[in-house]
């Protein structure tokens, strides 16, 4: 029937495999799938390509959205509304309400979410923990403490790379964990100048400095997957990383809680820092493509598809009504934490991947955290720089 071009930045092996689930779903409905992948630079490359495409008046049929992208395009009035499908499919009820700001514009659905990653995970080598007799830490100071102990035993406590986004993952976690999800909301989302410049913020940076002490010197240019590998082969004890890291363990045939631990970054109030991938449809004239768009939206929101997709991708479905049985222990934990977070207000978007403030501000957090982490800046200086940076970007 119709053909739909889908633009995305999934180029890693597991990502592609997961995406193929959707592709097959669409193709099963009798539509053709035209793949337009542009990887790299945390999606900046695909953003640039998409911008060129839209400027040229030649948008793809569908696009993978991250963070505010969908909403921003909707503001430009180039995104097709999916209200009919949403109504028919009961999307509103099936999705956590915290996601709606990223999926709707003026009450109309503009994107269909496929999955939900949790970013604030700690992955740990069980054997190392057990050998050192370290329990799963309940707070960041405890984690630091444990790290110091491990370091003495000749293990790298925390595996990570020096890329800004890897630092930000930790920063995001600290921001929510040390002062509670409310503080995260005030700073990372509302950009409240008072909160940004507060003592609590200084504490966040102080702790980040402590975390720096747990990382080895060779962390430059290290990929997150390489870091995960270090945890797997026992060179390092822990890694703070989103649940895409889980795939690395599973691929080695390791089992959660038997060979490795997965636990949320420790905090009095456990937050659930999510990021979702969604698909939005651009306005196009060709009726065949329009039909294909509907098919894609329906496929994406199909609970069966969501289950299969997420089993591969390592994330959990965006829909809350998908059965959990076939998922692994870590995913089950995520399901549980999510339900809890939705109830207790611990659901917060991951700033690193654009689910908090808009990119121009989020980037300032990234700048400051990244520079702070690799440099010798004091926490006060970092806070000052943050406040000024946000001000300048307004």
């Amino acid at each position: 029937q119709g053909a739909i071009e889908v633009m995305h930045h999934w180029v890693a092996e597991s990502e592609i495999e997961a995406l193929s689930v959707i592709r097959k779903g669409v193709e099963a409905k009798g539509f053709q799938w035209k793949d337009s992948a542009v990887g790299g630079m945390s999606g900046a490359n695909v953003q640039q390509a998409l911008r060129a495409r839209l400027t040229a008046g030649d948008p793809p049929g569908a696009m993978q959205f991250l963070g505010w992208e969908g909403v921003q395009w909707a503001e430009q009035n180039v995104v097709r509304d999916l209200n009919d499908q949403a109504k028919a499919g009961g999307w509103r009820n099936a999705l956590p309400p915290q996601l709606l700001p990223f999926l709707t514009a003026q009450e109309t659905f503009i994107a269909a979410p496929i999955n939900m990653h949790r970013q604030n995970w700690v992955w740990a080598n069980k054997k190392i923990f057990d050998d050192a007799g370290i329990p799963i830490p309940k707070s960041w100071p405890e984690l630091i403490q444990a790290g110091r102990k491990l370091k003495e035993r000749g293990v790298i406590p925390l595996a990570m790379g020096d890329e800004s986004w890897q630092v930000e993952v930790i920063f995001d976690a600290l921001l929510a964990d040390l002062n509670g999800p409310e503080f995260y909301r005030k700073t990372a989302i509302d950009l409240d100048p008072k909160a940004l410049g507060s003592r609590e913020m200084v504490k966040v940076f102080d702790m980040l400095r402590e975390v720096r002490g747990l990382v080895d010197a060779n962390f430059v240019g290290r990929d997150w997957a390489v870091a995960t590998g270090m945890v797997i082969n026992g060179q390092a004890a822990m890694q703070v990383m989103g649940d895409w890291a889980k795939g690395e363990f599973l691929a080695k045939g390791l089992k959660p809680n038997k060979d490795f631990y997965c636990f949320p970054t420790p905090a009095p109030v456990t937050s659930f820092q999510y990021l979702i991938d969604s698909f939005g449809m651009f306005k196009v004239k060709d009726p065949a493509v329009q039909k294909a768009q509907i098919a894609l939206a329906e496929t994406v929101m199909d609970p069966a598809i969501q289950k299969r997709f997420n089993l591969i991708k390592g994330s959990i479905p965006a829909r809350t009504d998908v059965p959990v049985d076939e998922f692994d222990d870590c995913a089950k934990l995520a399901f549980k934490d999510r339900a809890e977070a939705i109830a207790k207000g611990g659901m917060i978007g991951a700033m690193t991947h654009g689910f908090a403030s808009r990119p121009e501000f989020a980037a300032v957090f990234g700048d400051v955290a990244g520079q702070f982490f690799v440099g010798t800046m004091s926490s006060d200086e970092a806070v000052k720089m943050l406040v000024q940076g946000i001000e300048n970007a307004r």
Binding site: A44, F219, P359, E360, A363, D367, G370, Q371, G375, N392
Partner: protein
């Protein structure tokens, strides 16, 4: 008579007609687009272009961004060192290659090949080579010199120098090629004359031949400055601007401002700054070049 007069008219206009499309293309794709960038830099454009007028606000914002300061400072450090070292190495290689060495063709190809490869991937190889735990430092440490440190890439103060190293690796072969070409054009009898006067070979090179390479030097300087100013994938692949923002350059800044941070106006402002820098270098060069040509 008249017909032939007309045909000679046509003949007079033909060159202009033939060159006109090129000129038109360049007027649009270079100058019109520069003008457009200039316009955007005085608007409040963020995600997509908007055409309002906000004065020099974006420039003020640009100069209030610490990352931009780092970028400008880095550009200065990077281009100075990159030029100096590339020229020095290129000249050395060219001079040595000019000594009737065997396998000159092979060596020349070795020095030139980095130009041919995209940095998208050679960047990864460089990352490993420079990584203290994997590359040079580890090799030297393993060989027994345990205190040897070469961890610039991890050090925000030093990381920009690793970009210089990679840049030199990529471009010094090009400088070598131009210098070699220049050396080949030098009259042999000048060297003989200096030999008879008792000058040693190093002295001959220092005092006579290198000064004679001035035209080649000029070309190298201009082309390398151009490479330095446009360096983009070099940085992205090697350090992605990090650690922190330690290796940010104006070109990477411009890209991330426009496409990652949704600050199109700031991106345009930085582009305008870059263009002005380029013009400051290129226009005088062009002027002198063209004037010289006219005389000669």
């Amino acid at each position: 008579m008249n017909a032939s007069r007309q045909s000679s008219r046509l003949a007079a206009w033909l060159p202009r007609l033939v060159v006109a499309p090129s000129l038109l293309i360049v007027l649009v794709t270079v100058y019109l687009f520069i003008a457009w960038t200039g316009v955007i830099s005085v608007t409040s454009s963020k995600f997509v272009p908007v055409y309002d007028f906000v004065g020099l606000e974006q420039f003020a914002r640009l100069w209030a961004t610490p990352r931009w300061h780092i970028a400008v400072e880095n550009l200065f450090i990077f281009s100075t060192l990159f030029l100096a070292i590339s020229i020095g190495l290129g000249l050395l290689m060219a001079i040595l290659l000019d000594q009737h060495v065997r396998a000159e063709g092979f060596l020349r190809a070795v020095y030139l090949y980095p130009m041919a490869l995209s940095f998208i991937v050679t960047g990864t190889a460089w990352k490993w080579v420079l990584n203290p735990g994997l590359g040079i430092q580890k090799v030297v440490n393993d060989l027994g010199w345990a205190t040897f440190r070469f961890d610039w890439i991890a050090d925000p103060q030093m990381a920009i120098y690793t970009v210089v190293i990679a840049g030199v690796w990529q471009s010094s072969g090009f400088a070598m090629a131009i210098f070699l070409a220049g050396l080949r054009g030098i009259d042999n009898s000048v060297i003989k004359a200096a030999q008879i006067e008792g000058a040693s070979l190093p002295l001959i090179y220092r005092q006579i031949i290198i000064p004679m390479l001035r035209p080649a030097m000029l070309s190298v300087v201009v082309l390398l400055s151009y490479i330095a100013i446009k360096s983009f994938d070099l940085v992205l692949a090697l350090t992605n601007g990090g650690p922190g923002a330690a290796t940010e350059l104006p070109s990477t800044f411009m890209f991330s401002a426009t496409f990652r941070r949704n600050q199109m106006g700031v991106g345009a402002a930085s582009a305008v700054m870059m263009l002005m820098t380029v013009a400051a270098i290129i226009v005088p060069y062009l002027y002198s070049e063209l004037r010289e040509r006219n005389n000669g």
